[in-house]
Amino acid sequence: MTSCHNIRPLLPARAEELTLFEVRARAEHVAECARCATEAAAYSRLGQALAVMANLEVDPADGTLERVLVAIGRRRTGVTDPRLLAAAGASGALVATVVVARAVRSRRRSRRRPTSGPWRRLRLPNLPVPAPALARAK
């Protein structure tokens, strides 16, 4: 029979964490050693109680749920299918490209016009031009 010293490191482990050889050695030892059998049973119960913990829930602080709902309300798009999101993204990129291209083109055109400038925008009324004094003397 394998000694307690060799088996003790195997006692806390679950069967699936051990090799077949280790599982067999542990089972054979535990069948004949009352002390190690008690230890193994204690670890088994501990494992079961830990698994039960997965079903225990802790109440979060007040307002946590509301905070989450607000956060996802801000983020939520209503469309979660990645294909639709990709199509929407591609369409958005296309529209953005067109808008930018048009803006660049119109800016280039406006640079070519010499009439640009704030003083050119002022239009004088159609006033009669005064005749020069020399012409009047004639």
Binding site: P9, P12, A13, E17, T38, A41, A42, Y43, S44, R45, L46, G47, Q48, A49, L50, A51, V52, M53, A54, N55, L56, E57, V58, D59, P60, A61, T64, L65, R67, V68, L69, A71, I72, R75, R76, G78, V79, T80, D81, P82, L85
Partner: protein, 198 residues
């Protein structure tokens, strides 16, 4: 945490009510998992919010290959681990775990009551474990993730996970026996005796 497939599918289709209902049904479970991993209530609340923001982004890609709760646990684990990498840990046990009533799969009502009572006591002891041991134990023994999954989530080798797991279980059993007067052993003995009778 029970979640209907129909509810998940409705949320995936963009139903706002379904998404909010999904959050209402699962947020306590997500918060609990986050609290067990990060170790303090403030960070757990932040993780909970980040989990659902990620869920909103990724829900369309969920294909029902695993159960929704398993998927949600993985998302929670990843977000919690990312959070821990970003932040220094402020404090550990304060505010930890006062579990509410919950179902338990044990068939015998007496056994079930004992297991739930034991699990509640364990909650505090688990919260007091060193961070690395606690996270490994929570992911492996509480949420049933494989050693490889735990290693991936924590950026460890499977061997390192096994070492931490061994130390955590050993320490937890010793602390439980010290605080409860060997109750685990007593329960085990009673169970064996019951088994022999039947």
């Amino acid at each position: 945490m029970e979640v209907d497939r129909e509810l998940v599918e409705a949320a995936q289709a963009g139903d706002r009510w379904a998404l909010e209902e999904l959050v209402r049904r699962t947020h306590r479970s997500v918060y609990t998992c986050a609290l067990r991993l990060v170790g303090n209530p403030d960070d757990a609340a932040d993780v909970t919010q980040d989990v659902y923001l990620r869920v909103v982004r990724k829900l369309g890609g969920f294909r029902h290959e695993a159960s929704f709760s398993t998927w949600l646990n993985r998302v929670t684990t990843n977000v919690a681990m990312s959070t821990l990498k970003r932040r220094t840990r402020r404090f550990a046990v304060e505010g930890a775990a006062v579990p509410a009533d919950t179902p338990d799969p044990a068939p015998d009502p007496a056994e079930r009551a004992e297991a739930v009572a034991l699990a509640r006591r364990l909650e505090l002891l688990v919260a007091g474990l060193p961070e690395g041991q606690r996270q490994v134990l929570v992911l492996r023994d509480v949420y049933g993730q494989s050693t490889e999954e735990v290693a991936n989530a924590m950026g460890l080798t499977p061997g390192a996970v096994k070492v931490r797991l061994f130390r955590a279980r050993e320490r937890l059993k010793a602390e439980l026996e010290a605080t409860e007067g060997g109750q685990v052993v007593a329960l085990a003995g009673r169970r064996r005796a019951t088994g022999r009778r039947s």
